[in-house]
């Protein structure tokens, strides 16, 4: 029996779909080699040689880091490239380098050993701090230490690889992702990470399929294995049986063809066959995503998560910094609308010294933080107002529980306006102000809130968690999380009717808005706007344009009568089979 007749066992894993597309190809298992450092005594004559080896490794490391930084700036922008800055500064730390040289002379040990020991000492102290920021810096220092030592040993991290590959890794740092992207990468699969991790953001901007949060893909696969990666569903298959390869090749062809057809829809409105028009907009986190949003045919930005400004920094951006960022977005999206949500952050971002909350979901979050820290809120409101002169910017408040909070938040908008008037700065006097409906109390009291708000946007993820009392991050109960639960549909209907009663438009910006299966229900319930992840936007538009509003209204009113989420799902599947036989989505 030869090796080739031994078939490896097929392994199926489920992760988080981070970037759409299907990739089939050979695994390249990316493992960062940690060089083994030996301790070796040297004699007097070798001291100078060791010092020279140190210097040339430092110079080489500087050149490498400089290249990576340039590459990073070009691909992901200045702010993110700053992550690499700390490492560069340490390479220029003359006190540190002097100490290392001094120890080589005094202890008469090889340079690798002294570098490892000296930088390792600092990294160990940083790791002891009870602070995520310091832990990240400690990893930076370890990373730098390995780079210097590798360069001293004339080893190089493999970054030029042959052929097309699918990168499988435990986790990928920004620097890793940069370097690897110089190869022909078909896809990324990682053990760790969520949809906002660096690898995920990066692969989306390069349109490379990615699945993250797989748990142990890096231990299940070895280099050379065949792997299938489904960036639509999060399914990953290692050593697939021929039937699976065939099935996914077919799916890939089908999706490519479908997506090509979708491209023709780019400049068409999201309008039903019988002439009912809704607004289809995109959720964004980073300004880098804007080009993609425009290409996907979005009518605007339905949710800009300003928290992304706080990534990779431990202080709050100034009014000026925020204004510059906001201005870029409204100008790119003009004449379409941009809805900017004020910082939706947990208390830990504001006061890290604060004791950990036992129930952060029920804790100090969103507008609660804003109202308790008015200086933060005012700063942000002034920046948004200043960016509003083109009249396409709307402000939205997150995590609102009652109308009292809306009134207080609006009073701060008045204060911010007065500040700007005093400074002689122009802004949109009638800037629209919206409220996110994600707390059940706010959903129930929608009539009162509608009187105060210009529009409502439903945050379906949190609303569903709060309504069903399910933390979907808890594997014991996650299966109870279901947006098709009739209680959720009834709540959506209540919010839509409440908004319409006062002539206010109602949208949805949670994940549910981007589920193709939910589209006919949401439109049928009377939703005026759907704000979705850019990747899925063309599919949703296709569904809206393929149906009659009257059909969707009937579907929605039938769904409202259902007893269980299973009944709703059954109804929706039947509807798809009957009205949308050509849409290639998995209905099972």
């Amino acid at each position: 029996m030869t090796d080739s007749t031994i078939t490896k066992k097929e392994i199926i894993l489920k992760g988080i779909p981070a970037s759409p597309g299907i990739a089939i190809g050979p695994v390249y298992l990316f493992v960062k080699d940690i060089p083994v450092v030996e301790q070796r005594s040297i004699d007097e004559k070798e001291i100078e040689i060791e010092k020279l080896r140190l210097q040339s490794a430092i110079d080489k490391s500087k050149k490498e880091l400089h290249k990576i930084t340039l590459f990073a700036q070009e691909k992901i922008g200045d702010a993110k490239a700053k992550i690499l800055e700390a490492q560069m500064m340490v390479l220029e730390d003359e006190i540190l380098l002097g100490a290392i040289r001094g120890r080589i002379e005094k202890e008469k040990k090889n340079a690798e050993f002294i570098v490892s020991d000296e930088i390792g000492k600092y990294a160990a102290i940083m790791l002891k701090a009870h602070d995520e920021y310091m832990h990240e810096r400690a990893h930076d220092m370890e990373d730098l230490k390995h780079r210097i030592i590798r360069n001293m040993m004339h080893e190089r991290l493999v970054s030029k690889l042959e052929g097309s590959i699918i990168i499988v890794a435990h986790t990928l740092t920004p620097a890793d992702t940069m370097i690897l992207s110089r190869n022909h990468v078909l896809g990324y699969a990682t053990d760790l990470g969520g949809i906002t991790s660096h690898a995920a953001l990066f692969s989306r901007s390069l349109k490379i399929p990615a699945v993250v949060g797989l748990g142990d893909v890096s231990r299940s696969a070895t280099s050379g294995d065949t792997i299938i990666l489904d960036g639509y569903t999060g399914n990953v298959i290692i050593n697939p049986v021929p039937e699976h390869i065939h099935e996914y090749e077919k799916k890939r062809a089908r999706m490519l063809q479908f997506e090509e057809k979708l491209a023709n829809l780019r400049n068409l409105p999201a309008e039903t066959k019988d002439g009912h028009r809704i607004e289809l907009s995109a959720n964004i986190e980073l300004t880098d995503e804007l080009e993609y949003v425009v290409v996907q045919g979005s009518e605007g930005v339905g949710l800009y998560r300003t928290e992304s400004l706080l990534l990779d920094r431990d202080d709050f951006p100034t009014e000026e910094e925020q204004y510059n960022e906001y201005k870029k977005i409204v100008e790119r999206v003009y004449p379409n609308r941009v809805i900017m949500r004020t910082f939706d952050i947990g208390g830990d971002k504001v006061a890290p010294e604060m004791a950990e909350e036992a129930n952060p979901f029920l804790g100090w979050r969103g507008i609660r933080v804003g109202l308790d820290r008015p200086e933060l809120l005012l700063n942000q409101l002034r920046a948004m107002l200043r960016a509003s002169t083109k009249k396409n910017l709307c402000i939205m408040f997150p995590m609102v529980t009652n109308v009292e909070e809306v009134k207080k938040a609006k009073a701060y908008i008045r204060t911010a306006k007065a500040d700007l008037r005093a400074r002689g700065i122009k802004f949109n006097e009638r800037i629209p102000v919206g409220v996110m409906i994600e707390v059940p109390a706010a959903a129930l009291m929608v009539d009162k809130i509608s009187k105060e708000a210009d529009f409502l946007s439903i945050g379906s993820n949190d609303l569903t968690q709060y309504m069903l009392a399910v933390d979907r991050g808890n594997p014991l109960v996650a299966k109870l999380y279901n947006e098709f639960d009739p209680s959720i549909l009834i709540t959506l209907k209540h919010v839509i009717d409440g908004g319409h009663k006062y002539g206010k438009w109602v949208g949805i910006c949670g994940e549910m808005a981007g589920y193709p299966l939910a589209t006919p229900l949401l439109v049928g319930l009377g939703m005026d706007e759907l704000s979705v992840v850019p990747a899925i936007l063309p599919q949703i538009k296709k569904i809206v344009r393929s149906l009659n509003y009257s059909e969707m209204q009937t579907l929605a009113s039938n769904a409202l009568e259902c007893e269980t989420s299973k009944d709703v799902a059954l109804l929706v599947r039947k509807f798809f089979k009957k009205h949308l036989p050509d849409i290639p989505i998995e209905i099972e």
Binding site: E94, L96, R137, M141
Partner: protein, 87 residues
């Protein structure tokens, strides 16, 4: 030798950027500059050292300057702390 006690005023503490400003400022002087905190002694002209302090807002540090321009070094560095590193 001059000793001064300072408190970290800026909200995010001695993170990477303020640490870099401090080190660059200290490097302009000939005098030695050491920082003491929780039993740690750190050379104030070393970026890796200053980062390791993990000094947060409100933390108290003892600064020690010694050398020919110690008066001016102490004055300039203490001012930098009092201005919260111009953050």
């Amino acid at each position: 030798m001059i000793e001064r006690e300072v408190t970290i005023l800026n909200r995010s503490g001695l993170h990477t950027r303020p640490a870099a400003v401090l080190v660059k400022t200290a490097a302009k002087f000939e005098s030695d500059f050491f920082i003491y905190k929780d039993g740690m002694e750190i050379n104030g002209k070393s970026i890796i050292g200053v980062m390791t302090l993990a000094a947060e807002q409100g933390a108290k540090l003892l600064l020690r300057f010694s050398g020919p321009d110690e008066e001016e070094a102490a004055k300039t560095v203490v001012e930098l702390f009092n201005r919260g590193f111009d953050e």
